[in-house]
Each structure stands twice: as C-alpha cells, then as structure tokens.
Symmetry: C2
Subunit: 295 residues, 2 copies
C-alpha cells in the first residue's frame, strides 16, 4: 500500500503537469476566466479519474502518451460539474477541497462561465487523443459527450436535485449514483481503454469494473458524509442530512452500506479477470484503496 501511495502521488504530479500544459495561460485574455479555471482545477484534487484512465490504458497495453489527453479531459469535466453543483441555485456549498468555492471567490456569473469554459476546454483537450487501429476521435467524442450528457452525468444531478426532501427507494438511489458518479468513472476507464487500443472484451471488463467501483465509491462517499468531519473531508460534512437528501446509510443503515460497498468492490475485481497476469494490478489496488479510504 505504501508503494501504491507513492505511485498515486507520482501520477497525480504527472497529471497536474499535463493539465498545466493544456490549460490556457493564467494571464491569457480575458484574465478573469483563465484565472478562475485554474483556481478550481488546481485545488488539490486527488486526480482519481485521470489516474484510472491512465491505468486502464496501460492495462490494455497502451502507454502514458496515448491516454494523457482523455485523462485531462475527464478531470476538466469532473471539475466543471463540481463548480456548477456548488452554485447557490444547486447544492449551495461554500467549501470544496478545503477552499472557498468558485462562486464565493469570483461571484455566481463568473462561476457559471468558469464551469462552461472547463467543459468546453475538456472537449478541446480530448481532440488531442491519438487514434489507433480500433478507435478514432469520433469514438472518443461520442463516448465522452454521452457520459457527460443529459442521460448520464447531468441527468444524475437532475435526479439528485429532484430527490431532495423526498423518501427514495434503494433502486432510485442506485439510479442516481449510476448517473451522477459511476457513469463518468466508467467513461474515464473506457476512454483510457480505447486510447490503449482495448479489445471489445477488455473494454467490457473495464465497463463492468467502472460501474461497480463507481457505485461503491458513492456508497462510501455517503458513509463518509455521516461519519467524518468537514475538516477531514475538505467539504461540508453532514450536508446530505441537512438538505434532507436520501443516502445509502439513511435507507439501509451504516453496516449494510459498508457490506454493499464491499460486495460491489468484489464484483468489480471479478471483472478484471479478463486481464492476464499483473496487467490490471493497479486498478485492483485502486479499488481496494477507494473502499478503505477515510476521506
């Protein structure tokens, strides 16, 4: 595990460096938007999505250079979704990754435009993904735009907003988690796999791994929101309960939630049997790490 932590840290630095190179300079005109884009993007994120994108490419025999563009693109899409979700008209959150959110620093109008700009820039960066024997820019674009669109990522946020102050059944909550969290995690893996010239069988394995890890990830997030402090999380703790939002623990209890996260992670691991030898070991380690994280 200490080896994993060092590896994650190194990958995080590589991703940060690539993001820095892809983004317009801080003083490019208009300065406000480029400064605000960087403020939210370089706020100490764990770079989970880019790292699993790179790991998926390597599991398929691809290299860092094949997948660094989609890795950066998914991080921009993730960051845009946080900037917009934190707005007063949505989840109304002042704190993210331990710092004041975009609209607190720059005002709501600029925060909306910053999210828009991060989303648009994500697509510009995606265009830099090299084509290979099986996949081209058209495939990457369709994959990415669908995962980020009204039926997945954005649809999940809609269901989430509409679910506040309502008693939800477990199946409804799972649907929200799938769209809001698992879809982009899965797409990060799929884009990495595609950039790594994955066979259809391996791409399916990455998809199954992603859906299950993604659902486990959100169950753990719900647990941590109840059990951890704001300081530890770097975002407002107890938030779900405050806005009367249904969560996994609120529906099935803490113990059953932990068991569900374990079950989903086992299922995710099983999917990785499609990869020979040690090829997918980093993905296995990451799934284990995400299950046991405390922030």
């Amino acid at each position: 595990m200490s080896d994993l932590k060092a590896w994650l840290k190194q990958r995080q630095e590589e991703v940060d460096s690539a993001l820095n190179a892809y983004l317009p300079r801080k003083n490019a005109s208009p300065k406000t938007i480029h400064e605000a884009m960087r403020y939210s993007l370089f706020a100490g994120g764990k770079r989970l999505r880019p790292i699993i994108c790179l790991a998926a490419a390597e599991a398929c025999g691809g290299e860092y250079d094949d997948a660094i563009a989609p890795a950066c693109a998914v991080e921009l899409m993730h960051t845009y979704s946080l900037v917009h979700d934190d707005l007063p008209c949505m989840d109304d959150d002042d704190l993210r990754r331990g710092r004041p959110t975009s609209h607190v620093v720059y005002g709501e109008g600029i925060a909306v435009l910053t999210g828009d700009a991060l989303l648009t820039e994500a697509f510009l960066i995606l265009a830099d993904t090299p084509s290979n024997k099986r996949y081209s820019t058209k495939d990457y674009l369709e994959e990415f735009a669908f995962a980020g669109g009204s039926r997945k990522l954005i649809g999940g946020q809609i269901l989430d907003l509409e679910g506040e102050n309502k008693p939800l059944k477990k199946a409804q909550l799972v649907k929200i988690h799938e769209a809001k969290t698992a879809a982009l995690l899965t797409s990060s893996l799929r884009l990495g796999g595609m950039a790594g010239n994955a066979t259809p069988k391996k791409l399916q394995a990455l998809t199954d791994f992603g859906m299950n890890t993604g659902l486990a990830f959100q169950v753990i997030d719900d647990i941590l929101d109840v059990t951890q402090s704001t300081e530890k999380l770097g975002k407002t703790a107890g938030k779900d309960e405050n806005v009367n939002k249904a969560t996994y623990p609120s529906i099935v209890g803490l113990d059953a939630s932990r068991k569900e996260a374990q079950r989903l992670t086992r299922k995710a691991m099983k999917a990785l049997d499609a990869f020979p030898g040690k090829k997918a070991d980093r993905l296995r380690e990451i799934a284990e790490y995400l299950l046991n994280r405390d922030y």
Copy 2:
C-alpha cells in the same frame, strides 16, 4: 428577397426537423431536463447559424447531409449560451424570443443544467459530421471547441460582464463583439465549409466573410436595442442602456453605427469573390438581409 424569405423558411423547417431528430425524446429520463432542453431550443429561433453553416457547405460544393450535423451543433451551442446569459447572475433577462426564459419556467438550478446539457449534446451531435478528404472529426472538434471556449464565445461574455458600467473605447467594444458574436458565426461558416471539403482559400474567404458579417450583425443588434420595441424584438428592448452597457450607438452615434454596419457588410461581400459564379449567392443575400433587418 421574397424568394430568399421562402428559402429561409424552408431551411428553418429542415433544421427544426433535424434538431428534433437529434435531441433525446421529451419523455426520456430524466424528463425535466429533456423537456427543458426542448423548451429553449424550440422557441422559434431564426436558425441563422445553422442556415449559414449549410449555405457555406453548399458554396464549397458540399451537400445538406454533409453539414446538417454541425448546423445543429452550432444552434445548440448558441442556445446554451443564451440560457446561461439570461440567468439572474448574468444578464438577468426574463424574456427571450417572446417567451419566459428557462430559469423563469424551470428555476435557476435546472436552467444551469439545461445549458450544460445543450452544450454537451452539441458535441455529441458534432461527432455525426462525416469526414472527407480534407477534414475529419478531430478538425471539427478543435474548431468548434475553440470557438465556444474561454478565448472566444465565453471570453466575450466575460468581457461583456466586466464592461458593464464602464466607459469603453470603440476598440474594446469591437473586441467584445468579435468574441461574443462574430466567433460563433464564423465558426458556423467554417464548420460548414470544412464539412463541404473546402479548399484552404475558400475556408479563409468564409472566415473573412464571417468576421465582418458577425461584427455587422452585432452593430445592428445594438441599433435595434435602441430603436425597436420589446414586442418587436421578442426580448427586452433598451436593455443595454438600463444596465449602462456600452454599445456601438452609445459610442459613435446611430448614423455612424449604420454606416459602420454597411462598411462591414461590403467587406464581407468582397471576401466572397473567392467563390465562382453563383455558388455563394445565398450567403450574399443573407448578409444583405441581416443588414436591413428590423428585428
């Protein structure tokens, strides 16, 4: 001109029909977002950007099928930018195309997500543009994402917000108009040209035509904001003055503004000399029509 009006109407109907086919069904889950996307997209827009995209493709020898996907994509990007610009935290406008704006009908949170969804869907539709000898999905994607990004469309809105209540020089206003209006109009023409397999020379001609027509378009918009009624415009008239926003007429006066729009249109026409015979006649007619419009 009556021939042009009939042709524009027919094109508008073709575009509406294609948009309807591309968009997720109104009752696709989650219903709220898909209904809201359609509410803003089918609000009786003139479809100017899609129509010039199609006309540019045809001027280059391409066909309707080559350019209908980018034509729809630019309309979605235009509509998303209106939905976000109308938000209370931006231009705070209640009326657009004669109807209540998205946030008035659905609330601010849903309106932000609706804009996000239209933008993301625009990229999904763009992926449907056929590649040809000179251009591929990668080219279309780079063109589109750059025009919509922080240095162009979004940058223009930032400059616009920052310019409120400040005395602007003419050069600063032109810079805002270029980014906010001319960039996406130009990109509509360029995408159409690229989809129509344009030679580099013709693509440059479309670019010059677009920049000049785009600037003329915004000067006319500024004039109409002063001289026409809210009823006629379908959006709040006198808006610029109310928020103390610098406009072309406020800087150089109405007469000089009209002359400037004429000069820009003549320059735009000149660029079309690169097209032989009648190939670019529709673009010429549209430029003339835009110059003389009264709403």
